[in-house]
Symmetry: D4
Subunit: 248 residues, 8 copies
């Protein structure tokens, strides 16, 4: 069974636990209350991924406490996003990926996806967001190909990687400014394209809103969009798609 909520409901039904125990279990078990955050120690069971900690706005001490709780509950892999270099240095047992601003506790899964995930960026300023997607996907057990700085203003660069585009399993297209990369790649490829608008640009780029709206209006089929600068979300979804399997 994959879902803790359903498990508990079924256990009540089956009489394996008394209602009183179930009530306690429902309220207490799925997470340890460590005051400032409810750490979800069963999330992996529920939706097939490790725990992820959003590092921004949390102190190194808070992150450290959450990591400890998760490790104590047996969690082997923990991903910390939006983690500054300063905080990373204050944590022990963490591998830090500076470009991606990601810290990882534990081992990454061996690649076991359907195919390769291709991460593209339009410019060099988009690389940080792209790395967040790439490192996330690698941690979740995917082989990742990175091709950066292939914006549509220099189409020959992008086209020189046509083989990679055509053989990818899932593509993550990261772009700021006018975000045209998603539409062009969506038209070339025949796999799902996850578009990530970035806050790169100036003037009428409106910190990513122009790229977001542009990607949303892509006339290419197979393109969907995540939030501005949300590299993690793109990497996570790409991994999810790259691990599709029969469920019947």
């Amino acid at each position: 069974m994959k879902n803790f909520l359903l498990d508990t409901l079924n256990s009540v039904k089956l009489g394996n636990i008394t209602p009183e125990e179930a009530a306690i279990k429902l309220r207490a078990m799925p997470f340890e209350d460590i005051n400032f955050a409810k750490v979800d120690t069963h999330r992996k069971l529920r939706n097939g991924a490790c725990e992820v900690i959003y590092g921004e706005g949390k102190s190194a001490e808070q992150i450290s406490a959450i990591v400890k709780t998760l490790r104590d509950s047996g969690e082997s892999g923990i991903l910390i996003t939006r983690l500054s270099k300063e905080k990373a240095e204050a944590l022990s047992g963490i591998t830090y990926y500076e470009d991606a601003r990601i810290g990882i506790s534990g081992e990454r899964k061996a690649p076991d996806g359907i195919g390769k995930i291709l991460v593209l960026t339009a410019g060099t300023s988009d690389i940080s967001v792209a790395e967040e997607a790439a490192v996330t996907a690698e941690f979740l057990g995917n082989e990742v190909t990175r091709i950066y700085d292939v914006g549509v203003a220099g189409l020959h660069r992008l086209l020189s990687y046509l083989d990679d585009i055509l053989s990818a399993s899932v593509i993550v297209a990261v772009a700021g400014m006018e975000g045209a990369l998603a539409s062009v790649v969506g038209g070339l490829s025949d796999c799902p394209v996850i578009a990530v608008p970035t806050s790169v640009g100036y003037g009428a780029s409106f910190e990513g809103m122009t790229a977001l709206l542009s990607m949303m209006n892509s006339c290419s089929s197979g393109v969907s969009v995540v939030n501005i600068d949300n590299g993690f979300g793109a990497g996570y979804l790409a991994s999810m798609i790259n691990h599709m399997e029969g469920k019947k």
Copy 2:
């Protein structure tokens, strides 16, 4: 080989065709020019789907001409979206799905996807967009489960379908107003969720923009978003994901 453009480039390289022939081929073959629209008769080969005609803004005569050209080139399945009832009645050899505003020429593929696609709506007014997604997915060879009017304001309705949510292969969540359905479903399920904002609502719903922004900010992992009212795009992408297979 999957891609006409690459095929041609390789043929030139291999000397199978002269440069002059290649130039003619590149310009003339991939589509028949019927004046007002370049019909792409090789699109199926290139990205694994049939041809799709966007019906809005085209007259019945124009649609009819495009359909004929496609059929003559051997295309067996044609999907016409945003097709009004009036225009549908003026076309011959078309099966019309009124709720979805879709006309289909040819047969739908037998379901051969990984699992079931689940299409959910928050309210009854979202059904037209949902049907566009569902009929598109069915046509492309997917089994589709429809559960409508299960918005988060009545959570028990949604939760009563937990089995369907947990066993789906891909979920399309269609909602207007505040678009909260996507986040709630994204948190419950462990499969990709494609969120479709709809222009349903009034006042500060801004014809779908509030739902779009809300879905974009979903704190649930695995959620991505397509354009407002873009049921076709969601159904197409859902089918693409539901047909993932190894490429290595």
Copy 3:
């Protein structure tokens, strides 16, 4: 009589004071002019609450002067919102609540409301705004239950507190990002829900505007919205509702 303005009008009518005195009274009495701010020493009489000082943009000296004027006029309870730790340390006779950024002079009222006020947050980053609401409500004589980090992406967490939701007198739902918490809670409960959008988030959260619009579009009945990050306003209104009594 509750209202100073009406009192004065009636006194003129009843001849208790001469028109000249009334004019002086109207202009001079309801507040002491201390140059940079008109301190409203009769506000408590007029609308049943103590004086509240908005601390942002005022120096510690200015706040201190206002507090002194209020105390001299007999005001026993004073609430200072948006008060930084630095300024709080410069003030004497103030109890400081750091998370809430609130300073209080005087004693909080004993709880005498109809029931309990429940303050919920979607994430840990929303806690500061929630504390502003909670401390305000407590100061005004309410029993407050705090449940934090129960966003809709992990529905089982929220549902494990169903008892608290169902037994609350008023609920304050604090959330940033897509703000879906308000809709879900509004559908579960049968008491007034005051939604507080927060500026938490990034990208297309637009510093709270997405959450505000989302909450405004809630399809759940009984939900109303206050300004972004306005924890004080939510706590004040919640207290007002929790102290409803017959007036006939």
Copy 4:
């Protein structure tokens, strides 16, 4: 017990029903599926109000079918909002309030609230939205006072009703254009004020958005806001507040 969902969970716990029965009950009982809408026949039990039908976008036939289903399940009072005169005339057994665009099936509750609800409008064009609020509140068992066309541009009009403002239990302030009515009334009264922006105006009123933002920024305490033109939501919430009672 107030909540159907909780009831069922408890029944499973208590062993009153088998898990299989519970599953059926959870999915089937709370609403009758009449194809295009899931009619929620237990909503009254769950949150203390009758069923409400949003009439816009539904045909007279659809509305009629939903009303019949509700009546058959024993529902005595049904409110239909956004009901055009044409559809109302096509329904039987409905009392129609043209200004409010509301149809009512069954009897209104006798007034049993704490006090009077005061509904104010800034102009004559806001009356339709105000009537939606007023009729809704009356139907739910409230005494309602209507004072229309008392915008702040003619302050003496508004002040001549100071008694009504001061003696109200809850105030619904309906205004378009700059929406200043909410702030002024919020400053005068000491009861909850529900602000309803309307789409009345032209030019930079942006169909209610200016009034919405203005009300949201009200510097008066005790003011909260519902969606543009959402008279029903305001009336419903006003009734909820006017029926507050002890729960301890």
Copy 5:
């Protein structure tokens, strides 16, 4: 001398006319006042183009009167934009271009520009705006190549016209939706690209605003943008650039 204003100033200086005559000349000569519009009969002299009439919002009678005034003053070529078919049929001596919604009185200039102007559209729905640009440019003495329906979602179509793109003197790129055509063409070509956003699209296309912002953010050099649907402005500017000549 090119400029009427400067001419008059110089004439005063040179003493060719008395100040009184100059005052009359300045006020009376450059246009005939025909009550509802000041027809500028000297505009051609001033900036090298014929008179253009914006047809929208003017009745056929008004347009007819303006045309007569212009012809009487010796104007041989008159362009009427945004002219509906109905109004065109009510005018005499006008050649009407239905797709472009342009009426022309008089003869078009023989092509005498530097090279060819290339007008591209992303889709078939953009053709009307593109025709407005093309017909305008032709009227002003340019050879125009039209290539329509070559959006970036099908890159091979666009690339098959690489010769035309590389040999153009000026390019007008017309696109709605995400407007990516301008960036891609700007990257391929080495001539000025005038981007015209169109109001084609739905949902988050916001009637051309997304395309406008996208084009404005183009990372390709040599791209500038005109107003949404402003085919005339693009055609006029393209002609101006295509007629550049030495002035030293």
Copy 6:
């Protein structure tokens, strides 16, 4: 004494009326309640102008009733704005100005202002709004000069009226599109300039919002702005300024 509210307060003070009478007077006298609108029969006394009726959204019958009430109370001049030709024809005793969409009951005041009011428009499509301003100002006793179609794209037209600009007492500058007229005129003149943005334009004019923002940013001193298409407000304010007199 100019103000009814102050009058009444003073009368109470002076004992001329009993408090009870004052209460009745305050509530009843300043307006006649004719059900759907509170007609303000004392507005002229209070702020020096006749009564103005906003005709949009009111039926001919409603307007007729309001006019009758005002006439019965002795009002000699009544201005009805946004009055369609159809409604105007249904009213008796009204002089109708079609371009201005204004109906007038009673006589216009003889001009008695300080100087002339100059009303300028950028284009011919702005004339309707300009006429609303001009007719309003004439009715209120001002001499008005109209100069239309003098937008900044043809600066010599505007400059040929420099005498009128320099000798005006107040200028009303009416413009849509980019609204540059206000800045240019503000720089040329040394009198107050009231800028009126109009909803004329297309594409990125956003129905007047671009002109409004542009005028708001005018770098010329002495420029202020009223709502989009608010010709009445501009004419009224211009008259107010043109009738300034010593009050000391």
Copy 7:
């Protein structure tokens, strides 16, 4: 003669100067070119006011140089706005008004306006902008009454100054948040009201945009609006109106 431009044109006409001299005069005389700014030494002649320097973005050295140039050309009064305390201290011969962030070189004119200018603010945070208006108006020869912190949430405060409101010649209403002060004051007074939105507020105040839109929609006649935080513009315009005189 008031206008330099017109003077020169007339001089040419009258033969007082040769065209060559006129050309030199036109280009050289009205301003001294001091490299980074064209100091307009004749502006006072042209539109009746002293020179104003916008201090933001200019260094103390640059300001000093401009002031010197103006003084050398005989300018007796110079106003420097947006001047930080640091820069002010680096300038000699300047009187600095810290609240208003204004520096003045030379003497203020003796008050010679029609009546008093009343400057109101809604809150204490609006005082800086209000002082910019007040000091500007005083410098230009006006008597100014300041009444601060009289927002509409405490209506009795505002009403206690009714005499000042009714006797003002021009009113400047400065407010952030919802900006309701302008509408209320506009309804009470019968003189021109210049509304100044301020960037005070948080959340949905959008740095003054909500106040701007709200004031723009004021339903009170006689209200016009200047840019956000533009105290100078309001003070300048108020002075212009307060110095109206007959020109016939």
Copy 8:
């Protein structure tokens, strides 16, 4: 031949290179991969300009490495935009233009354009953006005339440069605030006008968006717009237009 992409395609066709060589050439030759940026060493060949480096967000080391790579490939002229003074000082062999924030490696081309490029600004704060345009154009071989601080609020300043306006080959009009300069200049001149909105201003200038929208709505023909603060883009396009030549 001008285009590397086309060259390669033709070489394959002509058999000058084997397909394998072509593939390598296509992927490897057009740029040197130096890890963080793909330096495009053939861009000059492709579109007639030197390489441009966008300095913002790149470290001095990264810029230095790119410059070296370009020089090594034989590039004689390199333009670095958005280069801070600090970084410029860390680079060797660079001429730095502080106002323009541009660094140049190599020599500027001798002017060989059709005529002069005129760069205008409305105010002194726009000079930095204008210098970016001017220095770019000079580097690319154009004679540039600079006229700054000639905004439309002081029209006589602008008109005193009428000769320069009328004799320019291309005009770059740089303005913030309301951006009216573009329309006025567009109306006066008969050459292409490139409008550059700047982020100069405050309040409702929205960091350049108001100027951008205003310029976009210019009613003058021949005006097109580039991104906010995009001086480089304007200078580059101006040079492109100023170097137009016959291609037939």
